[in-house]
């Protein structure tokens, strides 16, 4: 069993983007009340959007199941206001639910949250609860910077976020810490803002005692943990200079890294430096990098090939990375998998 913990519905039918475009266009129109409206997409359109893409690739690469959420760039919490985000998130999450219902063997859902800059994250609780209790989702994506690259909301360790964490703990769901599109011209989206978001979040977690307050709260840091494993010595040293506990003790019961690193030397470093207990297999396929690496003749994002090629990785560690850790991080995964 190989579970890819990081997939987004990047190939959703065009009607979704059209709905969003209309929503954004309406923002500028005076007197136009925000309306959730309806999204018309047939089951056949959903099937067509996946069968040539994620489903085909699962088959080709030999992965079994993808933990699937709305397109990360698409979340764009910086657009409009709280209502804008709520309507948009509900549509996106409903669509993920339909995918998971059509292909229960291939996809398990994770939700987008209706975050909005300057709005307390308490507003996300009803949608999280709906997605987990009614739609059977097993986690959420949490944007550490709803402003899209201006970083003016409080850090993840601030009590600002605590009501949402309380609900996550109560529902037994983890969050993948994942920024969305950047509207700051300094930050390229997938090339800078994504990786910076990962690095920033990890460093925030070093400086505070969040996991004393929430011992069972769990975060996945995507894109191989941003810059963190490459600079693991720096992070161990900074924590030590600050008089913080060793990283293992401070964070590693609660923080996990995915394997979205798109070349073999990067994956090898990740596997060398971070304990196998803290790594979850992922590819973010049909995502940030879609081409074929001319140096290998294979897709950059075919991360399974890199892992398979690391001959020194002990078999039990490989199993943890490919599937065993998922049940540990996603408390609702086992029950969900049994239902399928």
């Amino acid at each position: 069993m190989i579970i890819d913990c990081h997939g987004h519905y990047t190939t959703a039918p065009k009607a979704l983007e059209a709905w969003r475009k209309q929503q954004i266009d309406d923002l500028g129109k005076p007197g136009r009340a925000p309306s959730k409206g309806a999204l018309k997409i047939s089951d056949d359109e959903i099937r067509a959007s996946l069968e040539g893409a994620q489903l085909r690739i699962q088959g080709e690469r030999g992965t079994d199941l993808t933990i699937f959420s709305p397109r990360a760039m698409g979340m764009s919490h910086h657009i409009g206001n709280e209502t804008t985000s709520r309507h948009w998130s509900e549509h996106c999450n409903d669509l993920i639910h339909r995918v998971c219902t059509l292909y229960p063997a291939n996809f398990v859902g994770v939700c987008q949250l209706p975050q909005s800059p300057g709005v307390r994250p308490d507003n996300c609780i009803p949608e999280l609860e709906r997605c987990v209790k009614e739609l059977g989702f097993i986690g959420c994506n949490l944007n550490p910077d709803p402003t899209g690259g201006y970083w003016t909301d409080p850090p993840l360790t601030d009590k600002w976020w605590y009501p949402l964490y309380e609900k996550m703990v109560a529902l037994d769901v983890p969050a993948m810490i994942h920024v969305s599109a950047s509207c700051n011209p300094n930050f390229h989206g997938t090339g800078a803002h994504y990786i910076n978001g990962d690095t920033t979040a990890f460093m925030q977690l070093i400086t505070a005692d969040l996991f004393k307050d929430f011992p069972t709260l769990k975060f996945i840091i995507p894109h191989g943990g941003g810059a963190v494993p490459y600079h693991w010595g720096r992070y161990r040293g900074i924590a030590q200079d600050m008089g913080r506990p060793p990283l293992k003790e401070l964070l590693l019961n609660n923080v996990f890294f995915d394997t979205c690193v798109y070349h073999r030397p990067g994956i090898e470093l990740l596997l060398k430096v971070i304990p196998a207990d803290n790594i979850l297999f992922a590819s973010e396929m049909v995502g940030a990098v879609r081409g074929i690496d001319p140096e290998t003749g294979h897709y950059y994002d075919d991360t399974k090939r890199y892992i398979d090629s690391i001959e020194w990785l002990p078999a039990p560690d490989r199993e943890k990375i490919y599937h065993r850790n998922v049940a540990k991080v996603y408390g609702r995964f086992a029950a969900r998998a049994a239902k399928r």
Copy 2:
């Protein structure tokens, strides 16, 4: 000969900080005209500040020369205005000049620039010229985010920066792209803002044709290039998806990485992934991480030990990294070295 291209005067005599504190205190006082005033530090105080620190460590670790600049955190371009930054930069650079004059065999100078948020970088030209022509400096530190973590000035590829680049090219000096302190509570300074700054700058350079406009402009990206070498496949793939030339062709005549990565697996990845022609030895000693790694019994920032331990690194590559590349990147280094 081993040259450390990345050292800051983090141990400067207390009078420097006292001057700065007074300058900042005066900012809030109505009617107080900004004044450069005088900085009283004796040669003996300078000697005392270095002999137990940078000079001792050069001797202990077997490095010969440090390319030395004012403390990076101290630049704090976000404080005050253009005049604040000018007075402060002049004092800091003068002090570096005194260090280099007292210890010409051990230090070569690189300057801080009087950047200020929202102020065109043209204002940095006189100080750059003074430092290079009068003080014999061979480069500058360029802050890609003078706001200290809010990133509201234009990206490095914007024409906003071009007059400064023209002067750098005319003077034949490179810039190390180095942010300063973060005043954004989301970004820990050395743990997030520094690394994000490196990653962000590199990605900016991928998206534009800056080096077509300035074929001889040279940048050093410190801290091992931020997240870039760890995600080298991602960057190659993103550039390819965008229809940009291969990174080697696009950037590697102009962009260089230092070796400030504080554990052996990170250094090994850097040396595997980035051509030796593009790596400069550095430690940033007495800097971001000051402790001893309990796993090795050696200082985290003793990067020479990691490089020395990579047995597969060919001797000619080691020479490039330890000193040969310096003459290529810092056009004024050879003349300066001959003078010593």
